[in-house]
């Protein structure tokens, strides 16, 4: 569980988005099975902050 960097509330991981635009800049991060960089999207239920990070 990720804590919101703005308010500390636990964030909700609600999406994985394939980011083709990031693939050329970060070829090492490309998932070979999916063909792009997978970005996790997390939302804060308290302040609404959105966190986007590469899937690990």
């Amino acid at each position: 569980m990720i804590s919101c960097p703005m308010c500390g509330t636990p964030m909700n991981h609600h999406a994985d988005k394939l980011d083709h635009g990031a693939s050329s800049a970060e070829p090492h991060a490309v998932d070979p099975d999916l063909g792009g960089v997978v970005q996790e999207t997390h939302a804060c239920p308290d302040c609404g902050y959105v966190l986007f990070r590469k899937a690990t």
């Binding site: 909700n12 991981h13 609600h14 999406a15 988005k17 635009g21 970005q39 959105v50 986007f52």
Partner: protein
């Protein structure tokens, strides 16, 4: 309950744009909704260089508005059966994470009788790839030169009822998606 934030995007920078009257009408209708805040985002006012893309040219004000948004209303004129590539698509492409699992409704604008149906159809796959969720009501503003007077006042009141249906659906979807973003885990 925290108010929804639903900005209206005026999607063309052209001089003499008839879509401005539509965008201002939609902005007024959204403003009148209880529990909804809005903002009129004029694509013309967004500084967006064309020599690069994505984060490199992202306008922080636009990105912040979209990040705060629960839904978007896009007002797009139909130019040769397509959408305004300059600057609407270019500006939309500067963001990604800001859109995911948010609702969008599209208002097509045309000088002819089809109400921008083709620009709406052409925008749908773009919306999907950006991570937005489209509603099934559209705004179709046909013969736009005839439905507003020279000062931008609406002459055809049928658009009020049509817009009511459009906004009810958009607000419902915005509420559901906000709940989902904040409470429903991917797995």
């Amino acid at each position: 309950m925290k108010p929804l934030f639903i900005p209206v995007i005026l999607g063309t920078p052209r001089q003499g744009r008839m879509s401005e009257a539509v965008a201002r009408f939609m902005f007024g209708e959204v403003s009148n909704r209880e529990g909804v805040q809005t903002e009129l985002i004029d694509i013309r006012a967004i500084p967006c260089p064309t020599a690069d893309a994505g984060d490199a040219i992202k306008d922080q004000g636009f990105a912040a508005s979209v990040a705060r948004a629960d839904a978007l209303v896009i007002v797009a004129p139909e130019y040769n059966h397509g959408y305004p590539g300059m600057m609407l698509k270019h500006v939309l492409d500067t963001c990604l994470k800001e859109y995911i699992h948010k609702a969008v409704g599209i208002c097509g604008v045309s000088a002819g009788g089809f109400g921008g149906t083709r620009v709406i159809q052409n925008l749908l796959p773009v919306m999907r790839e950006l991570g937005l969720v489209t509603i099934f009501w559209d705004g179709n503003f046909s013969n736009v030169q005839d439905i507003f007077d020279s000062t931008g006042n609406l002459l055809d009141q049928a658009y009020v009822k049509r817009t009511d249906k459009f906004l009810k659906e958009l607000i419902w979807m915005a509420r559901v998606l906000r709940y989902g973003r904040e409470n429903v885990p991917l797995e």
